[in-house]
């Protein structure tokens, strides 16, 4: 009996009418609920722990809200802009970090427009640097300048280029880097304060400062020449150290030897003269006999050593014949 349960069209219309009248009765309520739900969604907002909310009502700034949950008037009446006041922002000049981390990668793009600058002695350097800053006044940040980040970028470049223009190539490359960092930081801060940008410049740091690629090898050559100079000087000193101390030793030896000679000479003199004086003392006691004795003793000592001895009479005038005979005989 399925057909019996089929309602006729009028019934269907009736049901529809009844339902519609129910709906029209509840329509305003539904709208209100919907609006309230929508309202609720835009009624509550939260501010992160490192943020400050800048609240505007009908566009007018009415106050700041601290981290946490807050209520506001919905439907675009109140508008809240959260500003990260704790975060340290970093701007890079002359290069771009693609991915920072353990192996930080840098963009290989061409930033020479930004990084090439003139030094005070009219040379060109490739200078890369960073600026770190924090937002110190969110109200100024939003309402005093239209593009705070452009101001920071522009002024960083203006100031860095001006200071690099005040120093020579060698100073920027080596000795005056920190001085430039400090001065640039103060000057950037000063100008941004005049603009009311509302940021605090924490630090300015020169990173890579290099001569342009084309002249790099010439710069390296100077460093090599410096090394070469040091090397040459060291080698010369090495030679010096090899020779001079040895010569000092030799000189010392010569002097010591002379001293030895002197001692020897004097001691000998002393010994000999003492010996003489002693003998003289005894000799004086009986000169005649002593003289004779010494003479005889000496001859007794000496004569036996001689190879040949000739004793000739004092009347003999020539001794030659005698010697010749002897010799001939000896040869035969």
């Amino acid at each position: 009996m399925a057909w019996q349960s089929v309602p006729n069209p009028d019934d269907i219309i009736d049901v529809g009418k009844k339902k519609f009248s129910d709906f029209s009765k509840w329509f305003p309520v539904a709208v209100v609920v919907l609006l309230i739900l929508l309202g609720l969604r835009s009624l509550i907002y939260s501010i992160g722990p490192d943020e400050v909310g800048v609240v505007q009502r009908f566009g007018k700034f009415i106050g700041l809200s601290s981290p946490g949950l807050h209520a506001k008037i919905p439907f675009g009446v109140d508008r809240v802009t959260p500003i990260k006041v704790e975060k340290v922002f970093k701007e890079e000049y002359g290069f771009k970090t693609i991915e920072s981390g353990v192996n930080t990668r840098y963009s290989s793009g061409d930033y020479r427009n930004q990084s090439l600058m003139l030094t005070g002695d009219l040379n060109i350097l490739d200078v890369r640097w960073i600026v770190q800053f924090k937002i110190k006044d969110p109200v100024k940040l939003l309402f005093a300048t239209r593009r705070p980040e452009d101001n920071i970028r522009d002024i960083s470049e203006v100031v860095m280029r001006r200071f690099v223009g005040n120093y020579s190539v060698d100073e920027v490359l080596t000795t005056k880097r920190e001085e430039i960092d400090d001065l640039a930081q103060q000057e950037i801060q000063r100008i941004l304060d005049i603009y009311n940008v509302g940021v605090h410049v924490i630090t300015v740091k020169l990173l890579d400062v290099n001569p342009p690629e084309t002249v790099k090898s010439a710069f390296n050559e100077v460093n090599e020449a410096k090394q070469e100079k040091e090397k040459m000087i060291n080698q010369a000193w090495e030679a010096y150290n090899k020779v001079v101390p040895k010569a000092r030793g030799t000189a010392e030896k010569t002097i010591r030897e002379a001293e030895g000679y002197a001692l020897d000479k004097i001691n000998r003199a002393k010994g000999e003269s003492e010996r003489f004086l002693d003998t003289l003392k005894e000799y004086k006691k009986s000169p005649e006999i002593t003289k004779k004795r010494i003479y005889l003793e000496t001859l007794a000592d000496v004569l036996p050593k001689a190879k040949e001895k000739y004793i000739i009479d004092s009347k003999q005038t020539s001794i030659l014949p005698l010697l010749e005979i002897n010799k001939k005989g000896g040869q035969q």
Binding site: P28, E157, A269, L277, P287
Partner: protein
């Protein structure tokens, strides 16, 4: 049930009215950092409104024109400008400006795009005027510090053009450009707040020449270091030679003095002793020499007159 329906109806009606007010343009909102000039059929009505918040105007017939109240930037294209010393450089400037008179701004330039165009003209011509009137170094340096401290960097090799003393300097050039540009800005309701030289660079072919010059300068410096090294090495070598001579001659001198003194002393000692009896000395010394001179190769010839052999001939020599 009835009460809630009424409340709901009121809500809906209020909501619709609010939307109607905004949609018809009766109420409008000015954000912080904005200002508005209201016009009626194109004619400005009253002073510019600079206070942020909700404001009202007549719907349909009045129109609100929004302008920036904040500091705006102007960044010009780099200009190729010759300096007074005929150096061609690219000068890139940047400026900060503000709409100070929104009404005049609306009447004279209309919108920001047009204003940027006017600023291009004003600032570029001011920049050109000032840069062409000064030397290149004036646009680079702020002071003559680099010239005064040149003694400290020993390998500083500087081109003559860089040694020009500056009288104005980059910072003051910026001031001059700003002063010039400022004069023309008020007619547009604009105030130029600040003006800075961002980049000064050589034009491409000059830059290559500068590179060549830098290379030449560095090579000169390198050569200087090398010859300094050679010079210093030679100096040390010379010092070695000199010190060797000094050391050996000094030692020789000292040795000679010592020897001389010792010889002298020995002489005086000998003389002191032997002069007491020269005869005995010559007797002793002569005998001593016999011992040393007569050896196995010697031939001795003595006469019977000699003291030694006199007894050989007769016993009573001494009468």
């Amino acid at each position: 049930m009835k009460g809630s329906r009424i409340i709901a109806t009121i809500f809906v009606v209020l909501f619709i009215i609010t939307i109607a007010i905004f949609a018809s343009g009766t109420a409008y909102i000015i954000n912080e950092g904005q200002q508005v000039v209201v016009t009626q059929f194109g004619r400005p009505v009253g002073n510019p409104i600079i206070l942020a918040g909700m404001h009202f105007k007549l719907p349909f017939i009045q129109e609100a024109h929004y302008f920036e109240k904040r500091l705006l930037d102007w960044d010009g294209d780099p200009n190729q400008i010759p300096t007074r010393d005929k150096k061609y450089i690219w000068v890139d400037t940047t400026a900060r400006w503000k709409i100070v008179d929104a009404l005049k701004f609306l009447q004279s330039v209309g919108n920001e795009m047009a204003a940027q165009g006017r600023l291009d003209d004003i600032i570029n011509s001011a920049t050109r005027d000032v840069i062409t009137g000064h030397l290149l170094v004036e646009a680079i340096r702020d002071s003559n510090r680099i010239l005064e401290s040149s003694s400290e960097g020993e390998d500083m090799i500087v081109t003559d053009e860089a040694l020009e003393r500056i009288e104005v300097g980059r910072k003051m050039l910026e001031g001059l450009i700003l002063e010039k540009a400022k004069i023309l800005a008020p007619q547009y309701g604009i105030e130029i707040i600040d003006m800075r030289i961002k980049r000064v660079n050589y034009v491409e072919d000059v830059r290559n020449k500068v590179y060549d010059r830098m290379i030449a300068e560095r090579k000169r410096a390198a050569e200087k270091y090398r010859s300094e090294g050679q010079g210093k090495a030679a100096e040390i070598e010379g010092q070695v030679a000199k010190e060797l001579k000094v050391i050996t001659s000094e030692a020789y001198r000292q040795a000679q003095v010592l020897i001389g003194k010792a010889d002298a002393e020995a002489i005086s000692i000998y003389a002191g002793a032997y002069s007491q009896n020269p005869d005995f000395y010559s007797f002793m010394k002569t005998l001593e020499t016999y011992k040393e001179t007569i050896d196995a190769t010697s031939t001795v010839i003595l006469t019977t007159d000699s003291d030694y052999y006199k007894y050989l001939k007769s016993l009573n020599v001494s009468e």
